[in-house]
Symmetry: C2
Subunit: 457 residues, 2 copies
């Protein structure tokens, strides 16, 4: 028995209910999230925690032995936030799947391993709605959503994950479990630590329980779709809408995305358009019709063609499905490097045209879909991973798109997080002083830097 | 010239545009906020900053000389967050009053000295709305709102201050100015430092600029008012409403508040009622009528009398005005110790009856108004400050009400902040482990503890 094995044996006695996996055939599948980081390390072990107490024991043990711990939810992250590190523990919360819904207070207490759609379904049984809806909502975990402050399509009206988190239980680096916030709709007592841990990507602590607030179920939505000859026309339409009303969804697809979707779905989309917008209103009652008519008029006023409106949620869902299908449709053309840069809305044309230039320069296909209403875009960089040269060009484009977003006053990540893939660009966005502030907080909370080392900072 | 004066002279040369006030007749009015802390210290000077650079110079100077700095907005705080400390600087941002509204992106960049209502008015000129509406909106500053994460009446539907802050410029203890977040609706890049500084009550840095997001102007609201024989009936009505819809306002007044308002306004309120609810819907179009009828039915179903509904915003405003008048109306009966404890909604009757018991035990009048929709209450403890015994009993009641809220799973402060008056109770609410976490962050960011010492921790 090696020293390493003795340490793991010691850990196993402290967490009898959790499995500690060292079989390389199994640990292999825990080395990477969807970012498929080529530099992923080989973990000492994967620990499948079953409780907050398990997580505490792992962190106490990791502190004692100075062993890095990478927390992992469903592994659907796109920035390499859950990439394994050599000799570390991958701590997965996938088995922690309880939920308690309180329909009277419109809240729920959720463990991190539950999938986003499972949370949505569990609360829907009580006539309630958990809004945040990442495109990956059928496979991403609520714990990962909290760790990255995940977004989605309805954020333009309903906000992002942090807006729905009232409280957290978090295990700190030394194994202490703390409760931050709680089931209180308003609470100004002490520092906003709940909000600090949301989006901290496992670098400050491991989230083991989440108290979320819920809304009454969403009203049915009407849908407006339109094709635009230029990105500027589409952007003008977006601004004309968001200036005066709050659509429940406002999504954009560029020419390449339209083409990819059309070739897979045969919906009769305009292949000559340089932008397509899909907008929804879930305004109650007759106002929904008025909102839809208004958005259709804005589309027409901004030279849209093929403007189609429907108050039938099923017909509308077909277009939402088309938009959600864009990523797999483009993925048929090759592997994807999936970006999520954001810019202030008026800079959207400059971003999209700049991306076209980058794609042309590197001889790459880059399709762009966007949560257009809040300026958050997903450039999809297509490449063949067996083609070394093309992969190198894709990686260059990945970085240049972030540089471009920063130069336009934007962000390198609107909803995926920094992880490991984007951390080289973080200082350029937030500046050295804010990096230093970040490091000071990190060191105060995790002095040994054993929590997700290499991520974010 | 004393050593002290030399130091101030040195500071003045670095901030030629700012006034440094040492005249005791003037500094006296900067020693306390509305909490009227009897233990307020005597400051070395009051500095009226005119720019971020002024604030930086003050903090560099304060760091060099190890002098405490208490940041101050409009001085309308109710927890003693801006109480002066002996030998320190009171740094007021009241002269920093610029605002730039961007109607295209529905955002504004605001300096901290602007009054909340001035922000509302400036953005309303562009057809936009800044929702957070503390009862003190006509005199509290937007900087103070950010520092305390202030709430208000519309929060039940529209959220609190932090939900509207996209970015901050903050001056740290050592004088470094950092920009956190920015004009981006979604941003997951790095730690959520913006959210950490919101509600930090000047203990981590001094806010010198705020980027806020705005909404399209609010639709006109309909109003429902009803009187209830018991607090339980009123609470049941609240829960029956919030379970299925989102009112734009849902306010409560107890018997004592109703009496005080009626004696001042002669509105014909039911003096025998033990609770009155004022609810509003700002749902668009015809749905507003439906929402109002639904709420009126819920009132009736929960045994309300005198149920009155109106779709006339001016008639509705009379009831909102009555609710806002409750604090000055009760204040006619004596000085107020103004609480803002909150509880999960089902515990509202237990809280209000517990407060009645505390009031009876200490032979005090305690009137209760509440932002009932989110469980945030304002017990108003009436006392005669010239009566030492009564003042002592009022202070005892102030603490016992916080103990009660904590025992019911609530918070000692829903929107005012901890300041100095409530800090003795903070560990009981959040626990020693979270206090330790708080101190670690505080020490990492302000190692000399010169920023608002004595507040919160």
């Amino acid at each position: 028995m090696t020293v390493t094995d003795e340490r793991l044996g010691d850990l196993q006695t402290q967490i009898p209910n959790a499995s500690i996996i060292t079989d390389p055939d199994v640990t292999e599948s825990y080395r990477r999230d969807w970012a498929r980081d080529p530099d992923a390390g080989r973990p000492l072990a994967v620990v499948r925690a079953t409780s907050t107490e398990d997580v505490q024991a792992v962190m106490r043990w990791a502190t004692a032995h100075n062993i890095p711990v990478v927390p992992r939810g469903a592994g659907s992250g796109l920035s390499g936030g859950a990439t394994a590190v050599d000799g570390g523990i991958v701590l997965t919360t996938e088995l922690m799947r309880n939920i308690e819904v309180n329909p009277v207070t419109r809240m729920a207490v959720v463990q991190p391993g539950l999938i986003n759609v499972e949370v949505k379904r569990a609360v829907a049984e009580h006539g309630l709605w958990y809004p945040p809806d990442p495109s990956s909502f059928e496979m991403c975990s609520i714990g990962g959503n909290a760790a990255t402050n995940a977004g989605g399509l309805c954020c333009v009206k309903y906000g992002v994950t942090t807006d729905y988190i009232l409280g957290l239980q978090v295990v700190l680096a030394d194994g202490t479990a703390v409760r931050l916030g709680g089931p209180r709709l308003k609470d100004s007592a002490g520092l906003s630590l709940t909000k600090l841990f949301v989006g901290s990507e496992g670098t400050l602590g491991i989230i083991t329980e989440i108290t979320i607030r819920l809304l009454p179920e969403q009203a049915p939505a009407s849908t407006v779709v339109g094709s635009f000859a230029t990105v500027q026309d589409a952007t003008n339409a977006i601004l004309d809408i968001t200036r005066v009303m709050r659509p429940a969804m406002l999504e954009f697809m560029d020419r390449a995305s339209i083409g990819a979707v059309e070739s897979g779905m045969n919906m009769g989309l305009d292949l000559n358009a340089h932008g397509m917008l899909i907008a929804q209103s879930d305004s109650p009652g007759e106002d929904r019709i008025r909102a839809t008519e208004f958005m259709a008029k804005v589309f027409h006023d901004n030279n849209a063609s093929d403007v189609f409106t429907t108050d039938d949620p099923k017909e509308g869902e077909a277009f939402t499905a088309a938009r959600r299908f864009a990523i797999p449709a483009v993925e048929r053309l090759g592997n994807l490097l999936l970006e999520d840069v954001g810019v202030p809305l008026p800079a959207l044309p400059a971003l999209i045209h700049g991306i076209e230039d980058i794609a042309a320069r590197h001889k790459l296909l880059v399709a762009v879909i966007a949560h257009a209403g809040d300026g958050n875009t997903h450039p999809l960089i297509v490449h063949d991973p067996t083609n070394e040269d093309e992969t190198a060009r894709a990686n260059l484009a990945f970085g240049e798109i972030m540089d471009l977003a920063i130069s336009l006053g934007g962000t390198i990540t609107g909803e995926h997080g920094v992880g490991r893939l984007k951390k080289g660009w973080l200082p350029n966005q937030i500046g050295e002083d804010v990096m230093e502030l970040t490091r000071r907080i990190k060191s105060a909370l995790d002095p040994q830097h054993i929590l997700n080392p290499g991520a974010v900072i």
